[in-house]
Assembly symmetry: C2
Homo-oligomer: 390 residues x 2
Amino acid sequence: MKPEDAAVKIIDVKVTTFTHTIHTEKDNDGHTHPGPPRTVKSSVLTIVAEGAEGHHVCPPEIVRPHVIEAFVKPVLIGQDAFMREKLWHALAHWQRGSAEQLTDRLLAVVDLALWDLAGRALGQPVYKLIGGYRSKVPAYGSTMCGDEIEGGLKTAQDYGRFAADLKRRGYQAIKLHTWMPPVSFAPSVEMDIKACAAVREAVGPGFPLMLDANHWYSRTQALTLGRAIQNLGYAWFEEPMEEASISSYVWMANQLDIPVIGPEVAWGKHFTRAEWIRAGACDILRTGVHDVGGLTPALKCVHLAESFNMDCEVHGTGAGNLTLCAVQPNGTWYERGLLHPHFDYDACPDYLLHPEDPIDAEGFVHLSDRPGLGQDVNWEWVKAHAVSTH
Amino acid sequence: MKPEDAAVKIIDVKVTTFTHTIHTEKDNDGHTHPGPPRTVKSSVLTIVAEGAEGHHVCPPEIVRPHVIEAFVKPVLIGQDAFMREKLWHALAHWQRGSAEQLTDRLLAVVDLALWDLAGRALGQPVYKLIGGYRSKVPAYGSTMCGDEIEGGLKTAQDYGRFAADLKRRGYQAIKLHTWMPPVSFAPSVEMDIKACAAVREAVGPGFPLMLDANHWYSRTQALTLGRAIQNLGYAWFEEPMEEASISSYVWMANQLDIPVIGPEVAWGKHFTRAEWIRAGACDILRTGVHDVGGLTPALKCVHLAESFNMDCEVHGTGAGNLTLCAVQPNGTWYERGLLHPHFDYDACPDYLLHPEDPIDAEGFVHLSDRPGLGQDVNWEWVKAHAVSTH
C-alpha cells in the first residue's frame, strides 16, 4: 500500500454561520471597545475527511461562499488532509493575483482547521503532534486601546488603576494599547508617555510592561516615545510606525536600547520576517497564526528567529497562537486579551464549550489536553443559532 | 486533567548492540569503499514510554553506556515523550562542556527515536505528523569516493561508465564524490575535472549532475574546479573547502554562477546555517538529520531557508532524511547512496525488515505509510545476533 492509498481524503468543506452575543463594539478605526450586548454573526469552517473533521471559527467575511467554492474546495477536495505543507503552498501560490479574496486570514483558518483535524483524528492536542516545549505559558494582559469612557481607559490614571488590578489578578506582565484615532486627543506621544508612567508607578519597578501605541507616528515621534518607555524600564516597543518601511525600524532600533519587536501586520509572511532580521529592524521577531497564514508558516517564523538566536513573541489570542507558544523555546509570553475594566474577557463565548486560553491564579494559560487545536465548538449552540450554511 | 497527566511518560532507554554483515570497508581517511563481507556491530537505541516505543539504529560508539547513563536517561526518564522540543533543548544545552560525549549525532539518534515513537503511538508515518508536502522524492545517485579498484571508480572513464549505468537504472540525477586521500594521486583538481567531464559526456547535456570533491582545496583550487564544472553545466558545487571558513565560501560564491551548496559538516546546527545565509556563503542551504542533531533542528534549517526563498537540499540517507525531504517545498532531491559498481546498495540490511529508501524505475524514492519514521528493525535478527544490551 502506497501512502496515497492510506490518505485521509478530504471529501467536503463546509461553513456554518451562526449568531451569538458579544459585549464589544468597534470604532470607525477598527479598534475594539466595550459595548452593550449585541448579536453578531460568526462562521465555523469545517473540513470533512474520511473518518475525521477539523474546525475553526472566524468572521463570516473570511469564508464567504465564493472563496470556498473558487479556491478552497478546488485545492482541498480529494487530497490527503495530512499533507498540510502541500495544501498550504497550493493555496499560497494561488494568492498571486487573487489575494484580495484568498487572504492570509483565509489561509490561516484553513490551516488551523487542518491541524485541528489531525489532532482530532489522532487523539492528541496539536502542540504534542508538533513536539511540545511547555504545557503552560505565562500571559501578559493586553489592554484594549484607550477610549473616552468614564472609568474605562480614558486617562493615564485609568491605565494605572487597571494595571494594578490585572497584577492583583495574577497577570505576570501587561501590555498597553494606548489612544488612537478616533479618540479626540489621539494620537499623542505625551499622553502615551503619561499612561506608561502611570502604569509603571502602579505596578512598581521590575514588573514586565510593554507598549503597543499608535501605529503611524513619524520617526521622531516614535523615537521620543521609545526613549521615554526605555527610561521607564519597559520590556518592548511595538509597532509605533508604518511597518511597510523597514528602514524606519532599522533607524529606530539603532538608537534605542529597549527591544524593538516586529513585524506584526506587514505583508509577506515568513519571507518578510526574514528581511526584518537581516536588516536589523527588530530585536524580537513577531508572528501570529492569523498574521502570516496559519500555524504552518507561523512555526517557520519561530524557527527562523531561533536560528538567529532571537525570541519570537506570538501576536494575538486563541488556540492557534497558544499552540505556537507551547512549541517554542524562543519566546516567553502568550498575549491574553484584549482586556478592559468594563469587559469580562474570561466569560466563555456562546459558541465554545471551553475558553481557549484558561488562566490560573499565577497568570499561566494552560494548554488543553483534549484532541485537536484547543478550540471546542459548542455544536448545540451553533445548530440552534445557525443562519446559513454553505 | 492537565496535559502533564496525559503524558506518555518515558520509562526506559535501552541500547541493544548486535552483529551483522556489510560489504564495505573504510579507508584511513574515513571514506567508504566496497570490501569483502565482514561482520560489524551496530546498535539500536530504544526509548520506552508507557504504551509506546521508538527506535533508531546507529553506530555503537554514539550510544555508549556512559553517555546513555550520564546524559540521555537523566534528561528523558519520567518526561513526556511528545515534548520533543523541550527534550531536545535540554540535551542541546547540556552539550556545552560535554559535547565530546553528548554529540550532535547522539542528539539526532534520540530525536529520531522520539519521532519514531510518536509515529508508532499514533499509527502514522512521521512525515504526515509534521505535515506532508510529497510522498515520493526523486533521488540522485551519490557515488562513493574514487578509489584505485580495477573496474571500480579508478579512472574518469570508470565514472562515466558508472554514471551511464545509474542513468539507465532510472536515477534522475547523479552526484560524484571524486578522489580523496589516501588515494595515491588525490586530491587533484585536474582529475576531478576529467571525471566530471567524462560523466557529462556519458549522460548527455541537461541531465542534472553535482560534485562533492575533496574538502580541503585552497580557495584558488576550489574556484578553478567550480568554474570547470560550471562550464560542464553542473547543478551544484559542494564543500570543496574547509567549512569553518565562511569567508572562503562568500569569496567563492561571489565569483561563480554555479550554485554553491552548504554547509554540511560545519559545527553549530541551524544557528550556523543562518549565518551562512546572512553572509551570502551559499546559494542552496544544506542540512541533514545526522548533521545538526536530529529531525527537529533539521526542520528548522528547512524553514529558515524557505524564509529566505532558498532551497535546502538534504544531506545523507535514511528514513530521517527522507522524512525531511517529504515535508519540504524548498528542495528537490533525496541523496541515495553511497553507490559503487561493486556494491549492491539495494540489498536490505540484515537488521531491517525493509530498505529505508526503496526506489522505483523512474528514480523516485517512496515514503513508507507504515507507522513511525520508516526504519523498521528486524527484531528477530537483532535478538539472534545481540552481543550486549545496556
